[in-house]
Every structure is written in structure tokens, then in C-alpha cells.
């Protein structure tokens, strides 16, 4: 059975590596993007995408803007986890309205991330 593919979006190389290493160890294939614009290109080029993990504050296009674009363009055929240091309630509410399924607060806890990823890609 083919591995499931996850797109990780964060402007930090180190964060992307942390997520990538966690997911690859659990047999997920991982794509990476530095911002929402790159992510949109990946989404359009990867019809079998299983999940997106996305930061909120990024250059060019942030996570909430990306969610809005995905929703407006009818591209959200997968679940989205927001992985961020942002914790204000209005941001969570906005992400929920735009279709995100989970909000994870940094620092990244690998076990928690993996549990949520496995739940949302089951």
C-alpha cells in the first residue's frame, strides 16, 4: 500500500525538518513549502494529498489566507492541522470557520503530532 502524503508548510527550515522527520519515521511521504503560495502549487500538483500541516504567520501568504484560498478554490480534499505559536481565540475561531481540523501549539511534541496525523489520515 502506498504511503500517505503530507504537505508541511512553515517558513522555518528547522520546524519543517522536525515535522518531516517525525512523519517519515511513521512511513508518511512529506512535501514541504515555505509559505502559502508555494503550498498552493503543491496542492494543485498533488491530487492524492492526505493532509496539510500549516503554520499561521508566514511571509507571502500566511496560514489563514491559505485556508481561505483552499476553501474558495474548492481544493480542500484533505484535512488541515494548524501548527503555530499563535494562541489567541479569534485565530482559532477563524481557522475553524475556514475548515481546519486541528490547532497545535508549538513547541512541537512529536508524539502528539503523530497521534493527530494518524487520526486525521485514517
Amino acid at each position: 500500500m502506498a504511503n500517505k502524503t503530507v504537505l508541511v508548510i512553515d517558513d522555518s527550515l528547522v520546524v519543517r525538518e522536525q515535522v518531516r522527520d517525525t512523519l517519515r519515521a511513521a512511513s508518511y511521504d512529506v512535501l514541504e513549502a515555505e509559505n502559502g503560495i508555494e503550498a498552493l502549487a503543491h496542492v494543485k500538483a498533488t491530487p492524492a494529498l492526505s493532509l496539510v500541516i500549516c503554520d499561521v504567520n508566514m511571509p507571502e501568504m500566511g496560514g489563514l489566507e491559505l485556508l481561505a484560498e483552499l476553501k474558495n478554490q474548492g481544493l480542500m480534499s484533505f484535512h488541515v492541522i494548524m501548527l503555530t505559536s499563535e494562541g489567541r481565540p479569534e485565530f482559532l475561531a477563524k481557522a475553524r470557520t475556514l475548515g481546519a481540523k486541528a490547532w497545535m501549539m508549538k513547541p512541537l511534541v512529536a508524539e502528539k503530532l503523530l497521534a493527530v496525523v494518524q487520526k486525521l489520515t485514517a
Binding site: 522555518s12 527550515l13 528547522v14 520546524v15 525538518e17 522536525q18 509559505n35 502559502g36 499561521v56 504567520n57 508566514m58 511571509p59 507571502e60 501568504m61 500566511g62 496560514g63 489563514l64 489566507e65 503555530t84 505559536s85 499563535e86 494562541g87 489567541r88 481565540p89 479569534e90 485565530f91 482559532l92 477563524k94 481557522a95 475553524r96 481546519a100 481540523k101 486541528a102 490547532w103 497545535m104 501549539m105 508549538k106 513547541p107 511534541v109 502528539k112 493527530v116 487520526k119 486525521l120
Partner: protein
């Protein structure tokens, strides 16, 4: 119960670095930070909301500024740096880019902690995008006026961390703020639709 802004900033910084394996001690004063400002050893990042809008911010808030000055060695000793590579060298351009990426991310997370706690007590502030600075720019940051300046020493590193914070308004390090818990705890997971996911 309230505490002051300096205590909040100090606690956030200590908590953040502890989460990544670096113990900072408010009882120790960071030593020799000006001496740390060599090309080889200094790592500095600043987040200044006045420099431009931050992608993802929902509404305008008071623009703040956050700057951190520390050493390459301290940042390289923090997780995941320390577990990812055996030795990071300040003479390696690739390693520098890696460390600078990480200090920007640390700044991002620190700003998040501070903003979340301030928001819970009714103070709305936004910091700009984290930018790593050159040595000369870092020295200017150290010399610039600031509301709050916190120096935190480390038992494991000669040069600890110096944090400079500017939050507009009639506030300073002694400003009392509430201690309501932050709306979302660091490391926590919120699932939006348990029912939908569980079925």
C-alpha cells in the same frame, strides 16, 4: 493576582528555552554579551511590527518590537539543533544559516507566548516578522532605547540571552498585568470537530 511585564517577559523566555533544553537563570546575569558580538559568535534577531504587516494577523494591534541577542553556541545547544547534528560550527556558512533560521523561529515562538499572555489580560500587541541581524545592526539594537531589557544568564554558556522589548503605550517593565491563563497552552492540541473525526 497580577505580575509585572518584566516578570512576564522573563518567564516566557525561560520557559521557551527550557522547552528546548537550555536552562536560563534570571538570578544569573548574562556575561559579556558585548564581547559576544563578533561575527563568529553572535546571533541576533528582531521582530519589529513597524517594519511591515505580518501575514496572518487578523486585525491591527499595537506594534511592538522584540529583539534577542545571544550566542551561536547557546542556540546550537538547543533542541533540535543539538540532537540533529553533532557539531555546528560558526565558521560554516551552512551551519550559520541553520542557526539563524532557528533563532528566528525561537523569536517567533517567544513572541507568541508573550502575545498570548498579554491578550489574555486585555493587552493586544503584534510583533513583526523575525529577522536575523548582522553584527552592526545587533549592536545598534543593544544601544537603542527600550521599555524592557532582560538579561538571563546560563550555567552552561558564558553568554546567556539578552532580550529587548518595546511595547507602545504608557507601560514599562513594572506595568502590572493580569495573570489569566493563556487561551491555548503551548504544546496543546485542539481538535475542532471531534464528532466528525471520530466517526
Amino acid at each position: 493576582m497580577t505580575r509585572n511585564l518584566r516578570e512576564l517577559v522573563t518567564d516566557c523566555t525561560v520557559e521557551l528555552f527550557r522547552a528546548y533544553g537550555v536552562v536560563l537563570d534570571p538570578q544569573l546575569t548574562a556575561k559579556g554579551l558585548p564581547e559576544a558580538m563578533t561575527v563568529d559568535t553572535a546571533v541576533t534577531a528582531v521582530m519589529d511590527a513597524r517594519l511591515g504587516p505580518v501575514a496572518g494577523v487578523l486585525a491591527p494591534t499595537s506594534p511592538g518590537k522584540l529583539a534577542i541577542v545571544t550566542s551561536f553556541a547557546l542556540v546550537a545547544a538547543s533542541r533540535p539543533m543539538a540532537t540533529k547534528v553533532a557539531v555546528l560550527s560558526p565558521t560554516s556558512f551552512g551551519d550559520w544559516l541553520y542557526v539563524r533560521d532557528w533563532i528566528r523561529e525561537l523569536m517567533n515562538q517567544l513572541a507568541g507566548r508573550i502575545m498570548n499572555r498579554l491578550a489574555a489580560s486585555g493587552t493586544s500587541v503584534a510583533f513583526g516578522r523575525p529577522v536575523a541581524l548582522t553584527r552592526d545592526a545587533a549592536l545598534r539594537e543593544l544601544a537603542a532605547p527600550t521599555n524592557i531589557r532582560v538579561r538571563l544568564g546560563s550555567r552552561d554558556h558564558v553568554n546567556g540571552v539578552e532580550l529587548l522589548v518595546n511595547i507602545p503605550g504608557e507601560i514599562d517593565g513594572k506595568t502590572r498585568i493580569g495573570t489569566l491563563p493563556p487561551p491555548a497552552l503551548e504544546g496543546s492540541v485542539t481538535l475542532f470537530d471531534e464528532d466528525a473525526d471520530g466517526q
